[in-house]
Amino acid sequence: MKKSATWILCFIILTAGGLSLFSQQEIVLTIREGVPAISLALPPFVTDASSAEAREAAETIHRVLADDLNYSRVFSLVPREHLNYIRPLNPKEIFFKDWESIQARILVVGEVSQSQNRVIFEVKIYDVKSEKMILGKRYQADPGVFRLVAHRVADELMKLYGEKPYFTTKIVFVSNRDGNDELYMMDYDGANQTRLTFNKWRDYMPAWSPDQRAIVFTSYRAGNPDLYILYPYEGKLVPVSTKGTNFSGAFSPDGKKLAFCSTRDGNSEIYVAGADGSNARRITFNSAIDTAPSWSPTGREIAFTSDRTGTPQIYIMDAEGGNVRKVSFGGNYLDAPAWSPDGERIAFVSRVDNFFDIYILNLKTNKITKLTETRARNESPSWSPDGRHIIFSSNMSGSIQVYSVDYDASNLRCLTSQGENKLANWTN
């Protein structure tokens, strides 16, 4: 408890310091790469065995929560066999020294009960050393949302340790599983794949607003590649740019602006408008192709692709269009920049010998690392909200599917399988 309290205090001081130093509000995310993960014990949840539904809830929530925490790179689960060395868990009387002896820093205790057809899940999170409960929550849930309950708990744990929670966020992507390219969304782990658009025209290149209430995308539904904003929870669709080819929409991190590409003035240029597409202002003026805008986390700069020197390269400019400088080097086909949430890195795609791979440029050290190595087409990188994971589309298994990989190229996993799936977006 002492340690975490100190840490939280440090965080507050840092944040306050940050606020006083910069006039504009700035989000400071600390990525503790290489720092050992927090050891967490997650014994099986205790349940009233007489109810099948309660048992299912206990099993599902436990499994999904374990998957979340394993994925996080923030927490590491105490191996299950280590629980055999200590006394079985009794939620009424916890022997914390037992849990300390198997190296657990945190203990998560879950209990599922059922009363009048309502499944109640109660979770208590303990700091083992101080023997204190640091968080307690009760959730009522139907079987359809057991996974969501687990994600909620995982988010609470992330918040407790100063990390950006994202287990309840969604990934939007394009799939042709129902005949033509349509928008879909899914959980971060590929569960709950849900169709969002229903027509026979191509809908693609979707991107979330930061609050995940709006999706900007390109659709050919009116016979021309136009830019629309879909509000999936309101059932509202609004056209925002309809002259020329309109694509590559990206909401700013504060959700107040929308960057996109349009050929409305005769050539592919980048524009910045209000979040509803109003008052679009052109910010690039160049006869070359300017495309793929990606905001810096502060919203003050935009990374983009331009072939102004003959081949597509990555550039950075101020959000008003000034101070353009090239940041990529060592390749002759680089595109699809995605600025990391910590602001220090830009993921991009580079083509070498007909293979497309995802690379990460560290803006501080100016070093480039290769994230994928599959002799395939790996495209459209998008960061997780905490910057520890990247999703992308790849044909490494034959058909194009959406994959997730960690910042250090480990933990590659495929999230989709039906039809072809691509252009996944998690954050801008």
């Binding site: 694509f247 050929t263 192709i289 793929a292 692709t305 072939d307 597509p312 595109d335 699809a336 083509r351």
Partner: protein
């Protein structure tokens, strides 16, 4: 098979029996010849045919639907080099032929579609496809075709002609093609 054989044999047996019966029937005297009847004259029923005047080439063209015209592919597509959108020398005669066809049918409106091969990112290819459509349109305009008869659209790499993954397929897929959308 067996069933057919049995059936076949039975039919032969019955036929031969009938034939042998016929022979016996010869003894019966022949029936009286049928009475001659007067047949009515056959009338040919006909609608008077409309003789179509000889249509001009333009009239034949106007009679066709847009789908029929597009199926005939009167406008040939052109191809591009990798990551380029300039009109290649081999595309010039194709565009000249297309321009003279468009001059022959001056009411026709067309859509120029720009396409790319798969060796590019989605974003960049959408912009590149548009550039290809635009340079094709500009060339047609330079040959005297009015710009308001031409619309352009980019499909990026989303509609390959050849689904292959080699240079032959890529070369085919880097193209501008024409769709007649009005006449």
């Amino acid at each position: 098979m067996k069933k057919f054989l049995v059936l076949f044999l039975t039919v032969i047996l019955v036929l031969s029996f009938a034939a042998s019966c016929k022979k016996k029937a010869k003894e019966v005297p022949p029936p009286p010849p049928p009475q001659a009847q007067e047949q009515p004259k056959v009338e040919k029923v006909e609608e008077p045919a409309i003789k179509e005047p000889v249509l001009t080439e333009e009239e034949i063209f106007l009679k066709k639907t847009l789908e029929e015209i597009n199926q005939e592919k009167p406008l040939a597509m052109i191809h591009f080099d990798y990551d380029r959108y300039n009109i290649r020398p081999d595309a010039v005669p194709v565009l000249e032929a297309n321009a003279s066809w468009l001059k022959k049918y001056p009411t026709v409106k067309i859509l120029v579609e720009g396409h790319c091969d798969e060796r590019g990112t989605e974003e960049y290819n959408l912009a590149l496809g548009e550039k290809r459509a635009k340079s094709t349109m500009d060339y047609l305009v330079s040959l005297g075709i009015s710009a308001d008869r031409i619309r352009i659209i980019s499909y990026g790499k989303s509609q390959p002609l050849d689904p292959g993954h080699d240079e032959t397929a890529w070369a085919k897929n880097r193209r501008a093609q024409f769709l007649i959308i009005g006449k």
